[in-house]
C-alpha cells in the first residue's frame, strides 16, 4: 500500500487545502482580536489609575497628604485657599449613609418577599418594575429631590434648607434599591431548597425560615449587595450635585446642604478650568479619593459575592 492512499495522508492533504488554511488563519486572528477586547478592560483600569495619579500629582506636590486628609476646610478657589478633603468626605458619607438607612431595611424586605413569598408569576411581573426604577436617569431623580420632595419635606421638618443632605440621601436610597434587591435576591435564591424544606419540617413559619435560614445562608451575598450599593451611593453624582448644594460644609446636621466629592467635581467642571492649574488638579485629587473608596467597597463586595456562589 502506498502512503498517498492512507486515510491519514488524505487528511493531511485536506488540511493543507487553501480553503481550510484560510479558515484556520481567520480563527487564529479572531482569537487574538477577542483577547484584545477582553484585555481592554484591564487597559481602561490602568488608564483610570494613571490619569488620576498623574493629574493629581501636581496637587500632592503642593499640598502635603496630612493637610489634605486632616484640614477641616475645603476652599481651593478662595484667596486664602484651604485644602482639607474632610468636608467633602463627611457630606459624601452622610448622603450615602442616609441612602443605606433607607435601602437596607427596604431592600431586605423586598428581597425576602421576592425570593420567598411572591409566587413566580408575581415575581416575573414585579421585576420589570424594579428595572424601570433602575432605568430612570439620575438627573431626573435630582429634579425630583430638589423641586418636589424638598419643598414637600420642608413643611414637616423644621430647619430643613432648600439644599440639604437628607432628601438626596433618601432619593439615592430608593435609587440603589433595585440594584441591592437584585443582588440579595440572587443570593437568597441560591440557598438550596433542602434548607427551606428542613426549616419547614421543624415547624418554622415562612418568616422564621427567611430570617433564621435564608438570610444567614445568603449572608455573604446580602452583605455584598449592601457594600456594592454603598459604593454606588458614594459615587452617585447628579442627585447630590442638584439637591445637596455646592457649598463645602463640615456638618453633623443632614438638614443642611453640603457639597459631596462628586458635587465638587461637577461644580468645578462647569466653570473654566485651565489645564495644569492647581484648581484643575484638585478635581483629580478628589476623584482619586473617590476612586479609592469605591474600589475598596467594590472589591470587598466582589469577593463576598463570589464566596456565596461557591458556597452552594
Amino acid at each position: 500500500m502506498t502512503t498517498t492512499g492512507s486515510p491519514l495522508s488524505e487528511y493531511e492533504a485536506l488540511r493543507a487545502s487553501p480553503f481550510l488554511r484560510r479558515g484556520r488563519v481567520l480563527a487564529a486572528v479572531m482569537k487574538v482580536v477577542l483577547f484584545a477586547c477582553a484585555a481592554l478592560s484591564v487597559v481602561i483600569t490602568a488608564a483610570i489609575v494613571w490619569v488620576l495619579v498623574s493629574e493629581s500629582l501636581p496637587f500632592f506636590r503642593e499640598i502635603p497628604l496630612t493637610t489634605f486628609l486632616t484640614d477641616t476646610e475645603w476652599t481651593p478657589v478662595f484667596t486664602n485657599a484651604r485644602y482639607g478633603i474632610l468636608p467633602l468626605l463627611s457630606a459624601t458619607f452622610w448622603a450615602a449613609g442616609i441612602a443605606m438607612a433607607v435601602a437596607t431595611p427596604l431592600g431586605l424586605v423586598l428581597a425576602v418577599y421576592l425570593s420567598e413569598f411572591a409566587r413566580p408569576g408575581v415575581r416575573e411581573a414585579l421585576k420589570p418594575i424594579l428595572e424601570m426604577l433602575a432605568a430612570v436617569p439620575t438627573v431626573v431623580f435630582g429634579y425630583f429631590a430638589l423641586l418636589f420632595l424638598t419643598p414637600l419635606a420642608r413643611q414637616f421638618i423644621p430647619g430643613l434648607s432648600g439644599f440639604n443632605l437628607l432628601i438626596p440621601g433618601i432619593v439615592m436610597g430608593v435609587m440603589i434599591l433595585p440594584y441591592v434587591v437584585s443582588i440579595s435576591e440572587d443570593a437568597m435564591r441560591a440557598v438550596p431548597m433542602s434548607l427551606r424544606e428542613g426549616a419547614f419540617a421543624v415547624g418554622m413559619s415562612r418568616v422564621q425560615m427567611a430570617f433564621s435560614v435564608i438570610i444567614p445562608g445568603a449572608f455573604s451575598g446580602v452583605t455584598a449587595a449592601y457594600l456594592l450599593g454603598f459604593s454606588r451611593a458614594v459615587g452617585e453624582t447628579m442627585v447630590v450635585a442638584i439637591a445637596a448644594g455646592q457649598n463645602p460644609n463640615l456638618t453633623g446636621d443632614p438638614r443642611e446642604g453640603a457639597a459631596t466629592i462628586t458635587a465638587y467635581i461637577v461644580q468645578m467642571s462647569l466653570g473654566d478650568l485651565p489645564h495644569g492649574s492647581l484648581a484643575y488638579s484638585t478635581i483629580f485629587a478628589a476623584g482619586l479619593t473617590l476612586f479609592v473608596i469605591t474600589l475598596v467597597f467594590n472589591l470587598l463586595g466582589f469577593f463576598l459575592r463570589r464566596k456565596f456562589r461557591e458556597a452552594y
Binding site: R24, A27, M30, L34, F35, A36, C37, A38, L40, S41, V42, I44, I48, V51, L52, S54, L106, V109, L110, V112, Y113, F117, A118, L126, P128, I129, M132, A135, V136, P137, T138, V139, V140, Y143, F144, L147, V174, G203, S205, R206, V207, Q208, R232, G235, E236, T237, M238, I242, I265, S269, H275, F284, G287, L290, F291, T294, L295, F297, N298, L299
Partner: protein, 310 residues
Amino acid sequence: MSVTALGAPAETQRLVLQKKAQDLIFGTIGVLVLFVVMGLLLTLVSDLVVDGAGRITPEFLTSFPSRRAAQAGVLSAWIGTSLVMIVTAVVAVPLGVGAGLYLEEYAPKNILTDAIEINVSNLAGVPSIIYGLLALGFFVYALGMGQTILVGGLVLALLILPIVIVATREALRAVPAGLRESAYGIGANQWQVMWNYILPSARPGILTGAIVGLSRAIGETAPIITIGALTYIAFLPPSPVSASPPFVNFDWLNSPFTVMPIQMFNWVSRPQAAFHENAAATGVLLLGMTLLMNGFAIYLRYRLRRTVRT
C-alpha cells in the same frame, strides 16, 4: 417547647395559626413596601408630566436653548444625544461582545483570566464621574481631542462596556451545549462555531443587554459635564449625510455638542421657575426614551424566554 404542649390538638392549632399570621403580616409588609416604591416612581413620573407636559410642543423640539425660557428648546440636545449614542453603540457593542465571547468561550482558567474578570466587575462599579475624569485627562488633554461628540461617545462606551460584557456572557451561557458540540462535530473551527452558530443564537440576549446599556448611557450626565461639554450650544453639528458625493461625512464627530441630560441639569440649576418647566419637559422626553428602550428590552427578553421554552 415541651412535648406535652405539642400533644394537645388545640395547642398545635394555635401554633399553626400563629405562624400563618406571621407569614400574612410579613407578606403584607412586603406588598406595602412594593407599593411605596411603585408609588414613588409614579409620583416622580406624574410630577414631571404635570410640570413639563405643557412645554412639549413641536417648537420645543425644533428650537435652540435660549435666555428666554418660553422660547428655549432642545433641538441641539436631542440631536447631540442621538449622535453621541451612535458613537457609543458602534464602539461599545463590538468591544463588549468580543470581550464577553473571549471570557465565556475562549479564556483558559488561569490568573490572567481571573484578573480580567475581577477587573470587569470592578469597572462596573467605578462611579461614572471617574470615567469623566479619565476622558478629561486622557482624551481631551493627553490626546488633544477636545470636547467633541467623539469623546462624549467614547466615554459613554467605556462606561457601558461592563454591562454589554455581562449581558453577552449571560446570553452565551444560555446557548445549548449541543449546538456547540454538533458544530464542532461537523468540522467547524472555533471561530466558525462562534460566528455561524453561537453568536446568532445568542443574538437576542446580546441585543437586550446592548439596549439596556444604551438606555443607561442616554441618561448619563456626570461624565459629559466633566469633560467640559458646553451647556449652551445654539448650532448643530455638520450633517452626517449630504446630497452631494461622498454623501456621508464624519465632520460631526469633531463638533462640540450638548445632550439632553446636560440641558436638563442646566435648566434645573437656574432659579427661575420658567426654566424648571423646561427642565421637566426635557425630563419627560428623557424618561420616555429610557423607559421605551427598557420596555423594549424587557419585551425582547420575555419573547426570548418563551421561544426557548417551547
